[in-house]
Symmetry: C2
Subunit: 463 residues, 2 copies
């Protein structure tokens, strides 16, 4: 029996104990956004530091101005002392549980429930992120139990403020950059493509967000006295916003697509195999026809194509009844999702230039910049990513897929900027895990095969 | 000396007494919107009923659920007993006086102030509408003093809720329609074109107002997950609103201009003489370039051309900071100013059809009707209007002008609908009278020549 087989066998045999450990962590009410739960957050950090210590980590709760971090460092087996050093990231804090009346059981009283599709672990945090982070810790524990050491140098960073804004994260990373630097970050806070297909997220869109206010007369006017003769900022704003897309759904801003590359033929072929059900994706929210760029399939529209969206418009009278006002100004909040090759500030500049060029006489525009962050592209060609892909494919007996996400995961950017680290984004959540909602669950299969997956990934990374 | 000359001479001689009577009325704090001033409103009504009685009117305060009306009926000289019967309308209530600290004297302590351009009567209500309504009553008084009777049958209706919504007006007109029916209404609540040019308002625009809500997905969506692939109601609304006008400022709705006629060559020629200063009109509110239909001068844009205006837009996130939401719906409040020939419901139908035809897949529109009222055109060719024009031209030694107004005067519609009466809209207010604002005034010249104007109008109407 190979060392890996022994570790996997240990994981299988230790499953009841692993589940009980997860239940202990799930019973701690570590809701980070609620100050009344600060002690519970500290308890969760202490529990994790103690658990890491049992498997040979030099681990401690590390206080911050907010909720504490947990940092642990584990040495590798002698054979791998010079191998890659990985930094695992997860978070022990959870979302609030309101509305409590919608839960079918108490959210901090975890239990295994049998369901037609298989057993699930029901509790707040079962998936996000206590269940996920424990898949990694259990893999480390099994290695330690079987081999007496970890398969490679492993550091662990567990956060307690991910669900409440991560106020302490950047200062902590900055102050402890020397200690935390490694070769690769492992992040377990994402999901699988579907119940049987593991996924590695290798692209995250960036964003430029911006508020624009169009102004005309120096006061609100009466539409009976000034209507049509005076510029109406709502009309100007509507016209300008309407011009941001052409009839095919393409964004019209000058240079917007500069540097944007089509999906590689290889990835497009991979994605085609996924059999993404665009009709089901849209149907779930009451829609049926894709509204984005006509030349791209929905899966690309929502992940690897840049977008321009209006997130809010306000101006004039919006209350009940009616008021015949021509407002002095009108405002729109805009966001642009960016992909590799796009410069957030160039997009902002192009938007501002477009608005300014379209202003009629007597109108002015004021702009206010919100965020601006470029897209993140992770090196899927890198041996570590290929190793992780092979390990996942072995465990799930199906090719793991490299995918891009439409949103962003801030920790990935922080690791790149502060620690110079790429992140390997692997997770075992399912779309129906009810993250942030009542009756959150984690499939027992995700938990079990997640642990086995990490054991395989560590084995491959350690070479 | 003709009878009219005798009446005018009496008016001139009686000026100090007329001013003192106006001051008495101005001292009554008849702010209709403030319940604390209800007794003052009744005092003003009583004062007016008593004053009407002194000149031979059968007059009384008439209580309503709100502030009282005053109604008076005066018989004509025997010679004119079969002549036209006029119903004069004015209102004795006034606007609140806040902010009091901006007044240069107590608002209910009227005084004559000498100013470079001539003496002014300073007080709340000096112009709107106590000063204006007293011009008519003083003309009646002078006729009665000189001839012993009124020049024609005159009824008077004075309202006490014009500045606070006129809640009692329609019920009162309806209940007393038989008593109030006459041949022509005289309304003294408008102004002069400029200091030297008298004006008769002969057109008032109507209005259709409407709220439209565009809906797409059945819930708010995250723009990182659904952006571009899902319809964004803000984007659809912007596109639809942007299409309501063409590049020349014309409204694009099907049939919108059906029945709309250009200003007659005669009126256009008259108006050209007025030397309307569009630059000054726009400059006063910080604008410089007309924004309406390119083919029409500003004065026509704001008075005799129909318009389409957006009075409010709301949807998505409008608070501080940013939220990457795709809202489930977006709303606009629209108003259409209508001119003679336009049907308010046809305009509403055309707008709704335009919106529905422009909706992409998965989007729906909900509509909510607010007001709908056709434009009012008064019969400027009618002998009564021609008589009034001649009388005003005599008094001011300058041709009186027939003009149309961009807004609406509700009493005109009520008189047409309930009493079947056209209104002759004549007034002597100036643009700088500070109606509804601190330091309201009425030119002494407006008061004096206003009285003389009404004497001349009554003389001509009585034939």
């Amino acid at each position: 029996m190979s060392q890996l087989d022994a570790v996997l066998a240990h994981i299988d045999a230790d499953q009841p104990q692993a589940l009980e450990r997860l239940f202990q962590l799930l019973r701690i009410e570590s809701i980070s956004t609620d100050p009344a739960h600060a002690a519970a957050c500290r308890d969760a950090a202490d529990w994790l530091a103690a658990d890491l210590a049992t498997m040979g980590f030099d681990a401690a709760r590390r206080d911050t101005p907010g909720h504490p971090m947990v940092v642990g460092h584990g040495a590798a087996e002698a054979d791998h002392a010079q191998g890659p050093h990985v930094l695992f990231y997860g978070h022990y804090d959870v979302q609030p549980v309101d509305p409590l009346e919608l839960w079918t059981r108490a959210p901090f009283d975890p239990a295994l429930e049998e369901r037609p599709a298989g057993a699930v672990i029901r509790a707040r945090g079962a998936s996000d992120d206590k269940g996920q982070l424990m898949t990694f810790l259990e893999a480390c524990r099994a290695y330690r139990a079987v081999t007496g050491a970890l398969p490679c140098r492993i550091s662990v960073l567990l956060e307690g403020e991910e669900e409440s804004g991560s106020a302490s994260l950047v200062p902590f990373l900055t102050e402890n950059a020397g200690e935390l630097r490694a070769d690769l970050a492992l992040v377990c806070d994402t999901g699988m493509w579907d119940r049987n297909t593991p996924m590695i997220t290798v692209g995250l869109r960036g964003m430029t967000s911006e508020t624009v206010t169009i102004k005309a007369a120096d006061r609100d006017l009466h539409s009976g006295m000034y209507g049509s003769a005076a510029q109406n900022p709502l009309r100007i704003l509507s016209r300008l916003l309407a011009g941001l897309h052409d009839a095919t759904g393409r964004v019209t801003l000058a240079g917007f697509y500069d540097g944007v590359e089509d999906l590689s033929a290889e990835m497009r072929a991979d994605w085609a195999k996924l059999d993404f059900d665009a009709a089901a994706f849209l149907g779930e929210v009451g829609l049926s026809v894709p509204a984005g760029e006509q030349d791209f399939p929905v899966l690309e529209q929502i992940s690897v194509r840049p977008t321009c969206e209006i997130n809010g418009i306000s101006g004039g009278y919006a209350g009940p009844g009616f008021k015949t006002v021509l407002p002095a100004e009108a405002t729109a909040k805009m966001s642009f999702r960016l992909v590799a090759g796009q410069d957030p500030e160039a997009v902002r500049d192009s938007f501002r230039a477009y608005i300014r060029a379209g202003l009629p006489a007597d109108c002015s525009a004021e702009f206010s910049a919100h965020g601006g962050a470029p897209a993140t592209t992770l090196p899927s060609e890198d041996p570590a990513y290929q190793a992780a892909r092979a390990a996942l494919s072995d465990e799930w007996e199906r090719d793991a897929v490299f995918l891009s996400m439409g949103g962003s995961i801030p920790i990935v950017g922080h690791f790149q900027e502060i620690l110079g680290l790429n992140s390997l984004l692997v997770g075992f959540a399912q779309k129906d895990d009810a993250l942030h909602a009542p009756n959150e669950k984690y499939d027992l299969r995700s938990f079990h095969k997640g642990i086995r997956s990490w054991a395989r990934i560590l084995h491959r990374l350690a070479g």
